[in-house]
């Protein structure tokens, strides 16, 4: 990821815009079957989330007690739960909810975390020391425990879930950004920026951060999967999204007591979550291989 760098160096190819190069890079990325598969998985999750109201055969809260605990059939593809609600429809809406929360959480975490990490890495010395010590405090307790306790204290609402999930993402983004900034800021073109008399914010946002995009893309992809999983775990434990709003975690939890005679209530949402995680993990792996400058396959 040395787009801005090569523009300054004025090498051959500098006339191509970074957009064109990003598109080419993406095409190379997709040419590997595994990458294409992971992209298809995550893209279809996004489609499902967007199209949930169109795709769902039933409303997510349509209770039909007469149809309670129906096994999977053509009418109810994945069966129904105790209240006779269609699991397939609820799953689609649950995916929508999960993805929305994950995107907001990761965006928020990125915004705050990248700023903290960039400032810490760029200015170094005591600024770095103070900021990273504060970040470390928030890493002292396992993420899910921290999130559980926070949601319990603040009350289970969507804003508090997002807040609870963001804190850990902020620390992750801050650390990764700091690391990337530390290596970028020693580059000659950054010294050139100083020599040109640019202001610190302009150097950070205009020249340092654009060259840290690679690791941040990888991290975002991993973290979206991560947040979906943690949110599901929170919901599973009763401290996430509350009924009747569908969420994958609560759906899995609601099947817990019916495991012996209606296993589909838990099994299908979990299987779906597995596929989502698989998609994001493979995407993260693929992106890491693709964007890691050590492999030198981006240029």
């Amino acid at each position: 990821m040395s787009q801005t760098a090569s523009e300054y160096e004025g090498r051959a190819g500098a006339h191509r815009t970074s957009l064109v190069r990003a598109r080419e890079s993406f095409a190379i990325f997709l040419s590997k079957p595994l990458n294409a598969a992971s992209f298809a998985l995550t893209a279809s999750l996004c489609l499902i989330a967007i199209l949930a109201p169109v795709l769902a055969p039933y409303p997510y809260d349509a209770i039909d007690l007469a149809k309670g605990l129906t096994p999977p059939s053509w009418d109810n593809l994945l069966g129904t739960d105790t209240a006779g609600r269609d699991i397939f429809s609820r799953l689609l809406y649950g995916a929508r909810m999960s993805l929305q929360i994950a995107l907001v959480t990761v965006a928020f975490g990125m915004l705050v975390g990248v700023t903290i990490g960039a400032v810490a890495g760029y200015f170094g010395r005591w600024v770095d020391e103070v900021l990273m010590r504060i970040v470390e405090i928030f890493m002292a307790v396992p993420g899910i425990v921290m999130a559980l306790a926070l949601v319990a204290v603040l009350g289970p609402s969507i804003p508090s879930i997002i807040l609870a999930l963001s804190i850990r993402r902020i620390t992750q983004f801050a650390r990764v950004t700091r690391g990337a900034v530390l290596s970028v800021k020693t580059m000659d073109y950054i010294s050139a920026c100083h020599a040109l008399g640019m202001s610190h914010p302009r150097i950070i946002f205009g020249h340092v951060l654009p060259n840290c995009v690679g690791p941040l893309i990888v991290l975002s992809s991993v973290l979206i999967g991560n947040v979906i999983l943690t949110e599901s775990a929170l919901s599973f434990l009763g401290m996430g999204i509350q009924e009747p709003t569908p969420s994958i975690g609560t759906m899995i939890a609601s099947g817990n007591e019916f495991l012996t005679f209606a296993p589909w209530i838990s099994l299908f949402p979990g299987l779906f979550l597995l596929l989502v995680m698989l998609g994001f993990n493979l995407l993260g792996d693929g992106l890491r291989d693709h964007l890691d400058p050590r492999d030198g396959n981006v240029s």
Binding site: V141, V145, F236, L274, L278
Partner: protein, 315 residues
């Protein structure tokens, strides 16, 4: 020299523990409304249940009238002496509840980590040695599935398959009722994720080492394949794996919460969940504090192990 490093690492734990304490302490104060009410397990709507005199007494007990910095200091000082306060909801010493829960969690964590390391390393090494063959593809497929499987769902899947369809293991319940067999399914559920991660790390680390010149030298001087793989390659490949093990050990504490809850194991995780359901803020505080301490301790142990195993870190 090593001793000095160990002492330095020990000192580094102090800020972490301070962070844990601060977070746990703030939990009670972050609750919207009166911390005294929260300590009683009530929210603003439940205020009519108790008299003003009771509230005053609770505030006095918890020292809520003092400045917040002093409260924190007092609380830490008492926690250091093993006094986490008294739960108003359950009328028990928090310390006693937390210490009662600790052994179950420690047993679960150690069993999990032990099996994850054994399985993960074996699979990873085999995968690297048989690179590009069927065994490698199967191992890699299972690893990526393992990394992607939600722990709490896998736990339910295990109960459904190995306790209901083929009833080999008990569905749930503590060691006290079933003996150690009670830990088999929880361990399997919790170990899947770290085992898969360790296998992936072991594979890539082993592959990297196998490409080094020294492996060619070892082969060239006529050592048996087994000796090359298990003595020369493995020793050099194991360091990055230890780092992953460290991260995993810490993450495990989080996964253990759900697993203990699902299998009704009376550990720290169950205690945390129960205290959340009962709105018992003081027990919650104690559980978070101890989980944080276990977390910090496991990180410390891994770092120390790392120093002892890898001489390069000492330089």
């Amino acid at each position: 020299m090593l001793l000095l490093l160990i002492v330095r690492r020990l000192f580094l734990t102090i800020p972490t523990l301070f962070g844990v304490a601060l977070l746990a302490f703030l939990l009670v104060h972050m609750a919207p409304g009166d911390p005294a009410l929260a300590a009683l397990g009530l929210d603003a709507d439940g205020a009519w249940l108790i008299t003003e005199a009771d509230l005053v007494r609770v505030r006095e007990d918890l020292g809520l009238n003092k400045p917040i910095a002093q409260q924190f200091g007092d609380w830490v000082w008492r926690a250091l002496q093993g006094d986490f306060g008294r739960s108003y909801v359950q009328n028990t010493e928090v310390t006693r509840m937390v210490l009662k829960a600790l052994p179950t969690t420690m047993i679960l964590l150690c069993l999990t980590m032990g099996s994850a390391i054994v399985i993960g390393c074996t699979v990873g090494v085999l995968s690297a040695i048989y690179r590009g063959r069927t065994i490698d593809y199967v191992a890699r497929f299972i690893s990526i599935l393992g990394v992607s499987t939600p722990t709490f769902w896998f736990a339910l899947l295990l109960i459904w398959s190995l306790a209901y369809l083929v009833p080999i293991f008990p569905m749930n319940g503590p060691i006290a009722r079933h003996g150690m067999i009670a830990m088999v399914l929880p361990t399997m559920a919790l170990a899947l994720h770290p085992a898969a991660l360790i296998a992936r790390m072991m594979r890539s680390s082993m592959l990297e080492v196998l490409s080094h010149d020294m492996i060619r030298t070892a082969t060239a001087k006529g050592l048996t394949k087994r000796r090359v793989y298990f003595v020369h390659a493995l020793r050099n490949a194991v360091n990055p794996v230890i780092t992953v093990v460290g991260f995993q050990f810490a993450n495990l504490m989080g996964g253990a919460v759900a697993v203990e809850f699902i299998f009704s194991l009376p550990g720290l995780g169950s205690l945390l969940i129960d205290s959340i359901y009962q709105k018992d803020v003081l027990v919650m505080q104690g559980a978070v504090l101890l989980i944080g301490v276990v977390f910090a301790a496991s990180n410390l142990i891994v770092d120390l192990l790392y120093m002892i195993i890898d001489p390069r870190v000492r330089l």
